[in-house]
């Protein structure tokens, strides 16, 4: 097929399916985008290693399912329970990784007043370290003499590892000619709920006010008694929690992960954050959903191999017309 032959028939005949699955994918993008957008809002820093925070979440999900004895036959209520526990564990693990990242890769630099670009380099370094540690986990456990105990968890460290079961989908209700499945619904609702909670937390709680204050003016915030180190930690913690939840939802949909799975998703999530207006929580949601849906429509039109090209071209077009993103930058600007 010629690359520019637009396949409108395919787009229109599968319109509702493409839209619903695009929304589900976009919801995952949006949740990871929150981590980028919050850190950017507070520190003006591209947290390049956030993709690895997400990747650790996917492995936490996978290993929890292994640990709880998930097999190919696990289904129904047992599976739901397993995945709920997995989501909690993944959120904790991702949050811990994010906090570690802040402690090791950023705080020493902030203390020394390093140039912005050096913080990016530190983040890139941390990203390599985190993903390679996961990719070399079999070597590391062998070196520690633990390989026998953990072989199920660490074997095939550089391969794609999947959940042991195929998650059965149930068709719930039709939209157009597509039957929305339970997984679509769970992913979208779960993501929306988490984002609603985060949004309310940042807007209404005392800690959230601290975040907004630091984002708006770090010096004045410090003079008013806001502990900016705590605020930065809290930002990373919240970003990590969201990435962990996103990781479980991703595993629910995709079912498999790899040590470098975070990278491309991270790039997409960051694109979504910029598209929606970086530093803006609702912008991340809008950006993520728009990106997910646009990718699906675009790849239906011009072929799936052009999916990523569609995403980046859309980003450039949006930035041309709205240079600060769809909703504008605004974590700092309090809307009471």
């Amino acid at each position: 097929m010629h690359p520019l032959a637009l396949n409108f028939d395919f787009l229109f005949s599968n319109f509702s399916q493409l839209t619903v699955t695009g929304l589900a994918l976009g919801a995952v993008y949006a949740m990871v985008a929150l981590g980028y957008t919050m850190v950017y809002g507070v520190l003006q820093l591209i947290n390049f290693a956030h993709s690895e925070v997400f990747m650790y979440g996917t492995f936490a999900t996978l290993w929890t399912v292994y640990f709880m004895g998930g097999t190919a036959r696990t289904s129904g209520f047992a599976l739901a329970r397993m995945l709920t526990v997995a989501m909690v564990i993944a959120m904790i693990v991702s949050a811990l990784v994010a906090l570690l990242l802040e402690r090791v890769a950023y705080r020493p630099l902030l203390k020394r007043n390093s140039p912005q670009l050096m913080a990016l380099i530190s983040a890139i370094g941390a990203s390599f370290v985190l993903s390679e540690t996961m990719g070399l986990r079999d070597n590391i456990t062998r070196w520690l003499g633990l390989n026998d105990n953990f072989s199920r968890y660490v074997s095939g460290a550089r391969d794609t590892r999947g959940l042991p079961m195929d998650i059965q989908t149930h068709q719930l209700f039709p939209i157009g000619n597509y039957h929305v499945t339970n997984i679509d619904l769970i992913v979208i609702c779960c993501a929306l709920l988490m984002m609603l909670l985060l949004d309310q937390f940042v807007r209404r709680s005392r800690l959230g006010r601290g975040i907004r204050a630091v984002a708006q003016d770090p010096e004045s915030a410090a003079l008013m008694g806001v502990n900016s180190t705590r605020v930065v930690q809290l930002t990373f913690l919240l970003g990590g929690l969201m990435a962990g939840a996103a990781a479980t939802l991703y595993m629910l949909r995709i079912g498999a992960t790899r040590f470098d799975a975070g990278f491309i998703l991270g790039v997409k999530a960051f694109t979504a954050a910029v598209m929606g207006g970086i530093g803006n929580l609702r912008g991340a949601l809008v950006g993520g959903l728009v990106l997910g849906v646009a990718e699906n429509w675009g790849s239906a039109l011009v072929g799936t191999q052009w999916k990523d090209v569609v995403a980046f071209v859309l980003l450039v077009v949006i930035l041309l017309f709205r240079p600060t993103g769809i909703l504008g930058e605004s974590l700092g600007k309090a809307r009471v």
Binding site: P3, L117, L120, G125, A126, V267
Partner: protein, 377 residues
């Protein structure tokens, strides 16, 4: 004419009227040309062909010089520089073998022209958005270039393009390599480099070609940096609004920096394609861009010697310690983090940074009421 036999005008200002320094530079240049033949112990890479490693280092040094214009001088974060590198390589390959039979040397001007044009096309709309967004937009550009090459059969698809043309070979003379055995140096007559034969095994002539281009670009870089354009870039980087008020058309200068960076990137890509024999899209991934940026920033953005050192190290260290193959990226990551923490200005910070630091120290002393120290530099 100077004693190097070059017209005085081509000498960088630092060397004019300083014969001792000029001789020192000449010796260093000769040493760099002779490096692959010397086969020095410890320095040379045991597990991969040293000539090939040096050739790659030279192309990366070239990339770093180009990216330094964009990041170091103009202060624009470009995460998609590999896109220009890829365009340069692809133009050479497409004209030379895929859709034509151009000789290699003729493809270079077209390659750099196309790359420069693509730099302007990318820069014109995106340089108007805020600086921080440029990172993601350029990253997207790099990916678009790679995916376009991968998905279009006209450009060879995922398999890439084989038999990229090579520079014309002129067999003038043979140069023997040296051999080191237990502290004695022997001339190894069995291992000779045929001077200026661009073949498949010996990469030393490619290295010489790349090194020559590095020197040309370096001299151009010195001239530009110390000109009006260089000062305009510096002003734009330090404070765009002030620069604009002072009458510097900042957008035009940023675009110029972007185009010049693209020019050098394309040149480097074209040179790297000559020795590569075949090129394929997946060798131009985002990670390559990231490594380019890392080379510039760890070397000391804004200092041409620093970025050259950074680029050389980024290629050399992983090749030197190939025994640790599996752990290379892990080590690289740790090195980046340590460096960011302990040398936040880069290995060789630019003089401006050093001056600014001395000034800052002075101000601090004034504030604390102590006697200001003499500024040494």
């Amino acid at each position: 004419m100077s004693r190097l036999g070059l017209p005085t005008m081509t000498l960088p200002p630092q060397l004019r009227g300083r014969p001792a320094k000029a001789v020192g530079v000449a010796v260093l240049v000769l040493f760099l040309y002779a490096l692959p033949l010397l086969d020095l112990p410890i320095v040379t890479t045991p597990d991969s062909d040293f000539g090939g490693v040096l050739y790659t280092m030279a192309t990366y040094v070239l990339v770093a010089l180009g990216l330094n214009i964009v990041i170091g001088y103009a202060g624009l974060l470009d995460l998609g520089y590999v896109g220009f590198y890829a365009i340069g390589a692809y133009v050479t390959a497409v004209l030379g073998v895929q859709h034509g039979h151009w000789p290699y040397l003729l493809t270079i001007p077209v390659a750099v022209a196309v790359t420069m044009l693509s730099g302007v096309i990318l820069g014109a709309p995106t340089l108007r958005v805020r600086g921080d967004y440029l990172a993601i937009v350029t990253l997207g550009f790099g990916e678009i270039i790679r995916l376009s090459a991968k998905n279009s059969d006209w450009l060879g698809g995922a398999r890439g393009i084989q038999n990229v043309p090579k520079p014309p070979s002129v067999h003038l003379f043979d140069v023997p390599h040296l051999k080191w055995e237990n502290g004695t140096v022997l001339v190894d007559v069995t291992n000779k480099t045929q001077a200026f034969v661009f073949g498949f095994v010996d990469y030393v002539p490619y290295y010489w070609m790349a090194l020559t281009v590095v020197f040309i670009v370096l001299i151009a870089d010195m001239l530009i940096k110390s000109s009006r354009v260089g000062r305009a870039w510096e002003a734009t980087r330090e404070d765009e609004d002030v620069a604009e008020v002072m009458g510097v058309p900042t957008f035009r200068y940023k675009l110029l920096a972007f185009a010049m960076g693209a020019f050098v990137g394309g040149l480097s890509g074209s040179i790297s394609a000559a020795g590569a024999n075949f090129i394929y899209p997946d060798s131009y991934q985002i990670t390559v861009s990231v490594i380019f940026v890392a080379a510039v920033v760890i070397g000391g953005q804004g200092n041409r010697w620093g970025v050259m050192l950074g680029a050389a190290l980024v290629v050399y260290l992983p090749e030197r310690f190939r025994g640790l193959e599996e752990y290379r990226i892990l080590m690289f990551g740790i090195a980046l983090m340590l460096l960011a923490t302990f040398r936040p200005q880069g290995l060789l910070p630019p003089r401006v940074t050093r001056r600014a630091k001395a000034l800052e120290r002075d101000l601090e002393d004034l504030e604390t009421g102590e006697e200001p120290q003499e500024v040494t530099s």
